[in-house]
């Protein structure tokens, strides 16, 4: 992958990767933007490891994003302090009903565990196919499908309880 192709990949996928990170990291815009930059820089450094026979460029980038989020969860990063972790959500309250519903849903999304969150994000928000999600999370198709169903089921319970 040469630099121009990589820039093009950035142009095409940065919004998706940003969104994935944003929703996985407590819906904090600043952290999501920082990490998305890191992810693309990391992807460039790891470009030799990209095997198009195994995954598409898109799923490969999602995989790097996922691992980066896991890294953050598993290893505290000094630059992220408690204040940073505060969600944007509380600052973005809107009065209209739809936005209230959206914020309500975003809040409930955060109550899912990490695995469930990423499944909901990848399949329902990013609209990735189940087999793409399966590649990203390293599970088989059926298990992924089951897990997605479970996650939606749980979200529904959380939303309606």
């Amino acid at each position: 992958m040469d630099a121009d192709e990589f820039i093009t990949a950035f142009d095409n996928y940065h919004e998706s990767i940003y969104r994935f990170v944003y929703y996985r990291l407590n819906q904090n815009k600043q952290i999501a933007e920082d990490l998305t930059s890191d992810i693309f820089l990391k992807a460039w450094e790891k470009r030799k490891k990209f095997n198009p026979a195994k995954s598409s460029l898109k799923t490969w980038l999602y995989t790097i994003a996922r691992n980066s989020v896991i890294d953050i969860y598993r290893k505290k990063k000094k630059e992220i302090n408690i204040e940073d972790i505060n969600s944007d959500l509380i600052f973005s309250e809107e009065v209209n009903e739809n936005n209230n519903l959206m914020n309500f849903l975003k809040a409930k999304l955060k109550l899912l565990n990490e695995s469930e969150q990423e499944l909901i994000i990848l399949h329902y928000i990013e609209e990735l196919e189940i087999k793409e999600v399966a590649v990203i999370i390293g599970k088989n198709y059926s298990a992924t499908k089951v897990a997605i169903n479970r996650a939606l089921n749980k979200l529904k319970i959380l939303v309606n309880k």
Binding site: M1, D4, E5, F6, T8, R19, Y124, E127, K139, K154
Partner: protein, 655 residues
Amino acid sequence: MKELSSEKIEDKLKELRNQKPSSEWVNNARSEIYTFTKTNSSSQKILFFNILSMLKGRKKFLIPALLLFFTIVVASSGLLLYYFFGSQKKDLNLSYEEQQEIFKNILKNNSNNILAKNVGNTNAQNLSATDESASRDSVASSAKMSAPAYGGIVGSEYSYYYNKTETRRGNAISLCKAIDETSSYSPSYESYQYHNSDWTENHEKSITYSAEGELDSYYLSNQTSDSSTSYEYRGGSFAIKTITYYQAATSGSVDDLNVVPNAEDRVEINVDESVNNEITNYFGSDAKITSEVTENGKTYYVIEHSYVQDCNQPFYILLDSRVPVAEQESSPDNKTIVVEEWVEKDTFQLRRSKTYLESISEDNLLTEIVFTTEMSNVSFSEVADKFNFDYGVEIKEQVNDYRNYVENEKQDIVSYLTEENVQLLFIDGLTLDNIYASKIWTDRINSTNYYLDRNFYPSGERGDKMYEEMTQFSRFDSSTEAWYDEALVITNFSKLVGDIYQSVGINIHQSNKSADDLLKNYTYNPDNLEVADVSFMVNGVAVAAKKYTATYSYESMTTDEIYYKEGEASSSVGTMIAPDIAPCTEGTCTSTSSFYYLELNGFQYVIQLYETDEASLIFTSKTMQSDSEFIRSAIEEMYTKRSDVVKPTEPMPLY
């Protein structure tokens, strides 16, 4: 608050896609990455080779679709300027409203196949598709459970269209690789379309040819609201006929899982705004009708617009690459593409489209596309002969029947459990949530992999090449290998206790692997793994089992309890269901993930608990031979229970 259905939640989740990074960040990040990649390209050649390999497969596979896409996009999204000496030209300065009215008439008087901006292939059935699925082949497209939606907001004036496009490459084509590649394949395209007044009956045939006039692809679809019959042919010894029966639109039965929004959920559509959006979608945001030109007694509107194209852009992402000039980042390979389209004033039909590099001149001509369009308002019987399959080759038939999809799926599962005599474990007090048998999916894939049959392509070198291109297409392999060799059956059980959603996942294997080896796939490289002997009650008897407890170390993250809802499992580590992880705020923390393993009658069971106490589990083993009614009843209950949550299982897509 009114209870939200699963469908409503899914819809709202899609709206969360509106979340975008700030434009300031995008600019900075792009600039940073641009600098970083330009100054850090030591291993560029190696990966570039990989990318080329990937593109080779994709490119060749997508070439017919993308050429058509390009043809259609170029034709529909810009302006036509036709320099013809001796013609009379009158500059126009139309108001916005006048211009929109003309655009609207163009939408009405040209077929979707010509105008649709995002059509990725000749076989596209759902013209609103914008993602990569739009470029998939016909079977994937046709494998829909619901009838595809046709028609736009503006609508069409005619019931029948014949279109032909011929693409000529201009003097400057070698200066823009991206457009060069798209225009080099299948330069000739024909399509026939018919729809009835309410678009419930749609017929479509599209054919592409190489520069030498050889058939590249052929697709015929006859679709009603209940079913569709399609034919696909690539010049080989056989064609594929696919009959798809759609599920009913509304029946209220368990089988009917289509969402029909109730009155409260309906969104009021601003028609004017929607029409304007559609116009923008087709013609681009900066399209302007610049002049009228009269030639040979006919007057044409000349429409002009431009967009920025990275001329070195990889072929496969060209679909998403058209960016209005005003929104485009600067890049050395970005070139302005100027498009001119000529639309006949009397008929509003698109007649010619030219694309130029940077500015309008014959030296800068990239492509010229000439459109031939015939249209009329006729009954189907008058044009029915256009929609017959045209080749006298063997026809292999496949059927996708979604009318009783849930019932069929139930039957497939029951048949599999019966044939393989799989021993299921049920849990007292918990109900079956899901049951999947992997083999059902592999069988479905194997029954539709005619793309990998050499005889689907013409004999000789050209067919060899087409076949090779398809076999190289990477996504096919990756779609099957990931889960082919995994658990025979996956089951999930649950119950709701107060607010707590208790569940148990049981994966049933029958492998030659030892327990330790099998569990490696589940525990995923833990920092520490402990194995303890436990036992479960199965059929009233204590059965020895093992508990694998994987421990993962990580540094504390935050005190913000939003990260970890108190007492709730939370981790991405592990491969089955979320393992346990405790809130951790200081120092080095650990998370654990536990799996249970037991064997019974030659089957291996990997069990994971979620919000469930292991001591509370009492299992009962069941097989179809011994407990047919029980299992059937549990499956029936499962489908009833999940019908409001889960749509019918999709057929496995080919790509």
